[in-house]
């Protein structure tokens, strides 16, 4: 069965610097996979390669078995690959209602619909409501996004990605900067994501990683350092050493 998402010898070089060093990686269908690594390990570059924002120097990317290396970002989204951003990338002047509505109607061929007012199609409204409830945004649907609490904005980040009905969801440090009080709400919604969605979680927050993921890959200096189940990786002394910055005899 083809992997939900797969890369073969993926390399990305910025002039002399190798940001992604020959990464071969598989995300199984329905997996809950975490990608951890110290700052500057190349996690965000890796995501930008997967989503097509950056073009790889060499290597291939496969989405559900289909070669997506040359695909434009928006076509990858149509093929079921969605992402959230480490730093919120939302629409300040819009409301959560419109933001989610945008993603949902875009997916349902909304782009070609220039005559009917947004929200006139019953099935779009229902889906917006379902997503709003899932991500506990019903109480702030009509507020300007820029006025929302930061935690709510992080939830909206994930809600919009989810609204694209992805088969593969890339979560880029969803809990980053979320105050303690709103953190458990965020963890609950991430845990509650349906199993038919394979999730790749990029995160520093170890208790989120260990509570959520069933497999973990560790990225160091752009390369996969090690990979394994939660137990294997959490007990591996070398991982702890990498985090504490001792040199690793490669």
């Amino acid at each position: 069965m083809a992997a939900a998402l797969e890369t073969r010898n993926l390399v990305k070089r910025f002039g002399g610097i190798v940001a992604t060093d020959n990464v071969t990686f598989r995300l199984e269908q329905g997996a809950r996979h975490a990608l951890i690594g110290p700052n500057g390990a190349g996690k965000t570059t890796f995501i930008n390669l997967l989503t097509g924002v950056l073009a790889p120097t060499s290597g291939q990317i496969f989405l559900d078995g289909v070669d997506a290396t040359q695909m434009r970002p928006e076509s990858r989204v149509h093929r079921g690959l969605a992402r959230t951003f480490q730093i919120n990338q939302l629409f300040p002047a819009m409301t959560p209602l419109e933001t989610i509505g945008l993603a949902v109607s875009e997916r349902m061929g909304g782009g070609r619909d220039w005559w009917r007012v947004t929200g006139s199609r019953r099935e779009i409204v229902d889906e917006i409501v379902e997503i709003a409830q899932r991500f506990r945004l019903t109480d702030a649907l009509d507020e300007r996004t820029s006025n929302l609490a930061y935690g709510k904005q992080r939830l909206l980040e994930i809600a919009v990605a989810f609204a694209c009905r992805p088969r593969v969801l890339l979560l880029d440090e969803p809990a980053a900067g979320v105050p303690e009080a709103e953190r458990h709400e965020l963890l609950a919604t991430v845990a509650a994501l349906p199993r038919d969605v394979s999730v790749l979680l990029i995160e520093h927050d170890m208790d989120l990683v260990f509570s959520f993921a069933d497999r973990i890959s560790v990225l160091v200096n752009g390369a996969i350092f090690t990979e394994g189940t939660v137990e294997e990786v959490s007990t591996d002394p070398r991982v702890r050493a990498v985090y504490l910055g001792e040199s690793v005899d490669e």
């Binding site: 989503t51 924002v53 434009r72 970002p73 928006e74 989204v77 149509h78 969605a82 992402r83 951003f85 990338q89 939302l90 629409f91 300040p92 002047a93 819009m94 409301t95 209602l97 419109e98 509505g101 945008l102 993603a103 109607s105 875009e106 997916r107 909304g110 782009g111 070609r112 619909d113 220039w114 005559w115 009917r116 007012v117 947004t118 929200g119 006139s120 409204v125 229902d126 917006i128 409501v129 379902e130 709003a132 409830q133 899932r134 019903t138 649907l141 009509d142 300007r144 919009v160 990605a161 609204a163 694209c164 919604t189 509650a192 349906p194 199993r195």
Partner: protein
């Protein structure tokens, strides 16, 4: 698979209704809007001797509306939008001169011609910073102006297009010198195209334009083909501007190089600055304000009214158009369930980001 605690609880009707109502409400016409168009229609009967200037207001309003579509909604800046206005005007004029005197045929042909020109030049506008967009659009308008000047065998060159005679509108209403038919014709065309524009901006397509304007990176991440949408709206706006140009050519039965002049692109920017961009009425209100201002100023100091126009532009920019329309927003009473998606005036990347 562990039970999904949140998923399928019954969808409470209240939330669904609230979502549908607040989305659909944007589509319904507000009292003020209906009032505005009622006043506009009333002027057909109440101000018979001012139909000439009202005709110009309607045309400039439509032209400003077309710029608002790309600037206010898609965030594309342009200093050469007169290229499409002038192209439409010449197309309609040449058509009428060579015997195709039916006005509506002229409008359709000008719209298509301008749309084609818009489509072809839209690829120039997709790349680069705002500064590059300003320069490229200016360059296109200048090239078109030069072509019109050189091709005097078809455009009449510096003397302008002579010998345009228009047939009656719908075969019934002859163009009279009092400008009544002309104004009614321009107002109706502007109104119809406004309705179409209004539908578009509240449709999913329109929503995607605003998302591109506010955050192109996220728009792409949600699956929106950004370049294709920008090309589409740029072509549409070009068609609108072409129709506005055709209206001018048909109602004044004269076209000169002035329709492609730099000041037309600059004036229309001023109209949007006065009226505010991003809520469609900015173009129409700005056109009224601009023309009334011009009428008063040119009566007051005939040669030097451009001085005051320049002064207004400088003051408006210094005071900050956002603060200006924020004040207007503050005036608006808190209506039930705040209106979503406020007008964001002339939103562009700040110089720092360039």
């Amino acid at each position: 698979m562990p039970a999904d605690p949140i998923a399928k609880t019954a969808v409470p009707p209240s939330t669904a209704d609230f979502v549908r109502r607040s989305l659909v409400r944007k589509g319904r016409w507000g009292v003020a809007e209906i009032g505005f168009w009622a006043v506009a229609a009333a002027t057909l009967f109440l101000l018979p001797e001012r139909h000439l200037i009202l005709n110009e207001i309607a045309i400039i309003g439509l032209f400003a509306l077309s710029l608002d579509l790309i600037l206010g909604y898609a965030g594309i800046v342009s200093l050469g939008h007169a290229a499409f206005f002038g192209f439409g005007a010449y197309m309609a004029g040449i058509l009428a001169k060579h015997g195709f005197a039916d006005p509506l045929l002229g409008l359709v042909v000008s719209a298509l011609a301008a749309a084609l020109l818009g489509f072809v030049t839209s690829f120039l506008v997709l790349r680069g910073t705002d500064l590059t967009k300003l320069m490229v659009t200016l360059g296109v308008a200048l090239v078109l102006g030069e072509i019109a000047n050189q091709a005097s065998w078809v455009t009449g060159g510096a003397d302008g297009l002579q010998g345009i005679s228009m047939g009656p509108v719908l075969g019934l209403f002859e163009f009279d010198i009092f400008g009544t038919t002309a104004y009614a014709y321009s107002l109706t065309v502007t109104f119809l195209l406004f309705i179409v524009a209004r539908r578009i901006v509240v449709s999913p397509f329109g929503l995607s334009l605003r998302s591109i304007r506010d955050n192109p990176l996220r728009a792409r991440a949600v699956g929106i083909p950004v370049n294709r949408r920008l090309v589409a709206v740029y072509t549409l706006a070009a068609a609108y501007a072409g129709v506005a140009g055709a209206l001018l050519a048909q109602t004044t039965q004269f076209v000169s190089l002035d329709v492609l002049a730099f000041h037309r692109s600059a004036d229309i920017m001023l109209v949007l600055v006065i009226g505010g961009a991003g809520y469609l009425y900015g173009g129409l209100l700005g056109a009224i304000g601009f023309k009334v201002l011009q009428d008063i100023l040119s009566a007051w100091t005939p040669q030097y009214w451009q001085f005051w126009i320049g002064l207004i532009l400088v003051v408006l920019v210094l005071v900050g158009r956002e603060r200006l329309t924020d004040k207007a927003k503050a005036l608006r009473p808190r209506s039930r369930g705040r209106l979503a998606g406020q007008a964001k005036v002339l939103p562009t990347t700040t110089a720092g980001e360039v």
